[in-house]
Amino acid sequence: MAETEIITYREAVAEGIAREMRRDPTVVCLGEDIAAAEGVFKTTVGLLKEFGPRRVWDTPISEQAIVGAAMGAAMTGMRPVAEIMFSDFFAVCWDYVANEIPKARYMTGGQVTVPLVLRTANGGGLGFGAQHSQAVENWALTIPGLKIVAPSTPADVIGLMAASIRSDDPVIFCEHKGLFASKGPKPPEGHVVELGKANIVREGSDVTIVALAATVPTALTAAERLAAEGVSAEVIDLRCLIPMDLTTVLTSVGKTSRLITVEENPHQGGWGATLVSVVVDEGFQLLDAPVKRVASENVPLPFADTLEEAVIPTVDKVVAAVKAVVNF
């Protein structure tokens, strides 16, 4: 049965794109090595074969041209899905992400829309070093006008990809490198996950743990360990940074009175900070303990596994943080 078919997160990316390309002829893909080579992470497997070279385009190493062209196409009737191979490379086309795409609609008083998706392999944990391992969803968070999506399961990859491609707003779609090999059920055709709806992936009563992308499994493992020690953690998969589902978070904190965020971003400027700042404003009276953020250390990402592990969030760090607030 379709419902029980298992698919990898990696395969889900290509599947999610393919489903939308079948539905909508204006969806086109472009990026480096995405067509003939089917993506360096094999996340575009089958697309060239199914849709041909007029819909799947290999580009030169010209990220500004890739993203700029996607923008121009989006303004004129297409729905481009552009790949930025590693999210670190957003830095070489940041002007488009920060200054052009998110501002075009506003600056023109609503005259133009920019319906595009910028997909990227995001995050660390694979020993790719400082320039190929960053989790940069927080860069995008500094820029009003972008929707920011970061799925944690194959089903969400497909459902959120559908919503992202159908969105008339620009979407930054972060595919986590550390999750590519992970598996899960393949959702049925037509599966769409609305942007801005967090997912309570585990219910609990003592503490709320908010996680995103690769930190979701980390948080879930921590929650299991904590359960064994009698601590009941509720785990929220935020799914999107923008729109940020603060209703779900505040409701959960209303129940647990304690909050932990688990972010791969560096602590300085990480997304959890924004979330926490809203909770301590609007939900101040709900809180019974300090709020802790388990984030990456404020250093570039080191190459060696042991060092990288010392820098990014781990199950141990989440468990320790939860214990600190639960025992407060």
């Binding site: 041209a65 700029g68 121009g72 196409a73 707003d169």
Partner: protein
């Protein structure tokens, strides 16, 4: 009148309207009614108008922060432009864009971009889209000489060339960036045209102050583009009559050079051509007067328009019209 005279007269009128609109913008800036900054295009009129007359209404145009002339040439009214500069609700962008971001989507004038060079890849994308949709539309990016030294220029030209896209890169070479001469920081005599061969793109250097030359050159490039022959670079030499922005007196330009260029005013060039075609001074004068009237009325209307609606501050971020960032 011949067809050519009629068209030239129409171009002349548009140039006259732009010139007066720019003068109005300048005066209103001095009067404190235009705020922020402006980058006036007086002297550049022939580039916008000549190109516009060579294009189809559904072709795409992308401009820089110095883009008033392109907005008007593509059909935006002087009133809506001035209203935008004056932060009025009736402004082209409801007062949210300002001088640097004039946009007139009904004329496919898809924006004025204030980051130097940024719109070149965007125009390439519009051309790619036209190609994909099979519409035979063309995209034109107008940019300054200074933009030829930024990375986006390089990436845009290469991509346009390898994909043979229907895009025309029109450099408005006015010989200066802000206050620095382009020659002093560029390893090429003709910053756009001399680089085109590096991308296998044909290039032309033209008198950007002769509206007929501009029209014909753009028409040829557009025909190539529509025929699937790919991009063209046009380097249109021109000169700005005002300083770079606001009230810059442009002291960095040699007096002799300024004088020479003022003598080669695109409006004078067009007038001389009209006269050569037998159009009478009276006819030209009537056009001048019509332009005067149009812009005078535009100034009045813009002045009397309601101020930008402060509630608009929180609209138009998303396609749904709003700006909600949370659920």
């Amino acid at each position: 009148m011949s067809g050519e005279s009629t068209e030239l007269l129409a171009m002349y009128e548009q140039m006259a309207v732009i010139r007066r609109t720019e003068k109005a913008a300048y005066d209103l800036f001095l009067a404190g009614l235009v705020k922020g900054t402006t980058h006036l295009a007086s002297g550049h009129e022939a580039v916008a108008v000549g190109a516009s007359f060579a294009l189809r209404p559904d072709d795409y145009v992308f401009a820089t922060y110095r883009g008033h002339h392109h907005a008007i040439a593509r059909g935006a009214t002087p009133e809506a432009c001035l209203a935008e500069l004056m932060q009025k609700a009736t402004g082209l962008c409801k007062g949210k864009g300002g001088s640097m971001h004039l946009t007139w989507a009904p004329g496919n004038m898809l924006g004025s971009y204030a980051i130097v060079g940024a719109h070149l890849p965007i125009a390439v994308g519009a051309a790619w889209s036209a190609h994909l949709r099979g519409t035979s539309q063309v995209a034109v990016a107008f940019f300054g000489d200074g933009a030829t030294n930024i990375g986006a220029f390089h990436e845009a030209l290469n991509l346009a060339s390898i994909w043979k896209l229907p895009v025309i890169f029109v450099c408005e070479n006015n010989f200066y960036m802000e206050y620095t001469a382009i020659g002093s920081v560029t390893a090429a005599d003709h910053p756009a045209a001399d680089r085109a061969p590096a991308y296998r793109i044909p290039a032309k250097i033209i008198d950007g102050n002769d509206v007929i030359v501009v029209r014909d050159t753009v028409a040829e490039a557009a025909a190539r583009a529509r025929a699937g022959e790919g991009p063209t670079v046009i380097e249109a030499e021109t000169y700005r009559h005002y300083g770079h922005s606001r009230t810059d007196p442009a002291k960095y330009r040699p007096a002799e050079e300024v004088e020479r260029w003022l003598k080669h005013d695109p409006i004078d060039v067009a007038r001389a051509r009209l006269e050569a075609l037998g159009v009478t001074p009276e006819t030209i004068k009537s056009i001048d007067e019509r332009a005067d009237a149009i812009v005078a009325a535009a100034i009045d209307a813009a002045k009397n328009a309601p101020a930008a609606d402060v509630r608009e501050a929180l609209t138009d971020v998303w396609a749904d019209g709003g700006s909600a960032w949370r659920t």
